[in-house]
């Protein structure tokens, strides 16, 4: 049986031993896109298909996936989801977070089981304290490239040697950046670097295509985990619990497979 903590330490060991890998995450937002539902993240709201709810979203989070307009990007997301390569780890939404039906849907949609499946939440919830205290410091051992929103302040991170920025709805508006990063890697013979991504849907396509292009670097989708170091809001429950001591059970949550 897969174990949430063991998978975290498996990834951490690869990072410590400098064995290149990619950790891509397909959370609930990506799940809905794969299901070809319209997704809108707007001002404090989220629309999934016909369902509209309140959400903790601000300008830097805004995005819009429209199934008819953005089919090309959904196809690229499917490529990333079904891609297989040694040490290409795919984090899926777990049954405890998106329910049994959606969890099963992902596995069916993927096709054959992949030994490199893991949790999309691998770096958050019950593993977040370990991520900050044990994995984050290992980033110092690498020349690190950060791909993130143009609003992020990276000055607190001592290990960043290069950054690429994206803006609103990066999946669509900044898709061309993937080729630019490839060119930069090739021209500068970039190897044994660490690439961190905090660019929502864009990250998924980029991690797949960059790891396929050059698997001598490591690529990790860190999502919102480093927000407190980047002068960004702590609007996720796990962040509020860890950094502000707010009540909530996310930090005790050990996701199941």
């Amino acid at each position: 049986m897969k174990n949430f903590e063991d998978d975290f330490y498996k990834i951490l060991k690869l990072l410590k031993t400098r064995e290149p890998f990619a950790f891509n995450r397909f959370s609930d937002g990506e799940l809905y896109m794969l299901q070809n539902q319209e997704v809108i993240l707007g001002d404090h709201m989220v629309k999934i298909g016909d369902r509209v709810e309140r959400g903790p979203y601000h300008e830097e989070d805004f995005k819009h996936f429209h199934p008819e307009e953005h089919g090309f990007y959904r196809d690229r997301l499917i490529d990333a989801f079904r891609f297989r390569k040694k040490n290409y780890f795919k984090g899926l939404s777990c049954r405890c977070c998106v329910g049994e039906e959606n969890f099963r849907w992902q596995l069916d949609f993927h096709g054959d089981y992949d030994e490199n499946f893991t949790w999309a939440n691998l770096l958050v919830n019950g593993n977040y304290p370990k991520f900050i205290r044990e994995m984050y410091p290992v980033f110092n051992d690498y020349k690190t490239v950060f791909i993130c929103n143009k609003k992020n302040d990276l000055s607190v991170l001592p290990f960043v040697v290069k950054d690429f920025r994206v803006g609103y709805n990066a999946m669509v508006n900044d898709y061309g950046l993937i080729e630019k990063i490839k060119t930069w890697m090739d021209e500068n013979r970039i190897e044994d670097h660490l690439f961190l991504f905090s660019a929502s849907f864009f990250s998924k396509m980029a991690i797949h295509q960059l790891y396929d292009h050059n698997n001598r670097n490591t690529y990790i989708d860190v999502g919102t985990t480093l927000n407190p170091f980047m002068n960004m809001r702590l609007d996720r429950t796990y962040l509020k619990s860890f950094w502000l001591g707010a009540k909530g059970s996310d930090l005790n949550k050990i996701c199941i497979w």
Partner: protein, 295 residues
């Protein structure tokens, strides 16, 4: 076999000290394993998780940061260590009440040593120590409640093999030590910036994230671009190579930081409370341990 058993093996100074001690024992032909509840130590020395610990005849068992009530507690260590972590106060209270206040015998079939590394659970708070054969402290300034005059010895922790940094940066300060209020991390940062340091790098285990976010994060906005957060890094040579100065604001005479600064040619800015402590070589330290453990 020597078995070092710690109530915590998170990446902080005391764990590093126990890892170094374990490695030194093994390097000198004395088989030693470090047991702990966390996983950080597992790739640092011959080690295992606390759940795998089992006392055996003729073992030498060195205990750190676990408040045993008797030697028989050794047979239920994982549960005992989990108690304070869970902060289930009712269970903790019940456990304390069930412990006898009467004198507990020393175990006859293995040797039990208490090491006081001076962490949060300081030796001062340990009230039941009469069943230990020896007590180790790292400084004469550590206070222990040793009314029953149990045989004790003092020797500092093993010092890392560090060399002078060849290419030091200019005006880059390191703040070393776990990040929480008692270590005065904020005070160290502010002193460094007042002294004209251009970049401050915080190296330390993030013990208290709420303290970090309330007290340190605002400084990052007050001094934009000047303060960086690295966390606890394993490679001390890399750490000292990356800084010209170290700022330290806590009275811990047993801390190795000043000595490490001397070895690496790093300027140390901290309290002058270290004069009484004589430094010892690793050979001298191991000789003390060998003598005390009867190796």
């Amino acid at each position: 076999m020597i078995k070092i058993v710690s109530g915590s093996t998170i990446p902080v100074g005391s764990t590093v000290a126990l890892v170094n001690l374990c490695n030194q024992f093994n390097a000198r032909g004395y088989e030693c394993i470090l047991y702990g509840p966390d996983r950080w130590h597992l790739d640092k020395c011959k080690s295992a998780l606390l759940a795998n610990f089992e006392p055996q005849n003729k073992d030498i068992i060195i205990i750190n940061d676990i408040n045993l009530s008797s030697a028989s507690d050794l047979y239920k260590l994982p549960a005992l260590v989990a108690l304070p972590r869970k902060k289930d106060w009712f269970t903790l209270f019940k456990s304390l009440m069930s412990q006898s206040i009467w004198k507990k015998p020393k175990p006859g079939h293995f040797m039990l040593v208490l090491t006081c590394q001076g962490g949060d659970i300081s030796c001062k708070r340990l009230t039941r120590i009469n069943f230990y054969h020896r007590i180790h402290t790292v400084s004469r300034l550590q206070q222990i409640n040793n009314n029953r005059k149990i045989s004790s010895f003092i020797c500092p922790n093993i010092i890392d093999d560090l060399r002078k940094s060849e290419h030091k940066p200019d005006l880059v300060a390191g703040i070393i030590g776990s990040i929480y209020k008692q270590n005065n991390t904020v005070s160290s940062i502010e002193r460094a910036l007042r002294d004209g340091i251009e970049t401050v790098i915080i190296y330390g285990y993030l013990q208290d994230p709420i303290y970090y976010y309330k007290e340190i994060e605002p400084l990052m906005r007050k001094y934009p671009g000047k303060i960086k957060f690295a966390g606890f890094i394993d490679n001390k040579q890399n750490l000292y190579d990356s800084v010209s100065d170290v700022y330290y604001s806590v009275n811990k005479p047993w801390s190795m930081v000043r000595q490490e600064c001397n070895l690496t040619n790093t300027r140390f800015h901290g309290p002058d409370i270290y004069e009484e402590e004589k430094s010892m070589t690793n050979d001298q330290i191991l000789a003390v341990w060998k003598n005390e453990l009867g190796l």
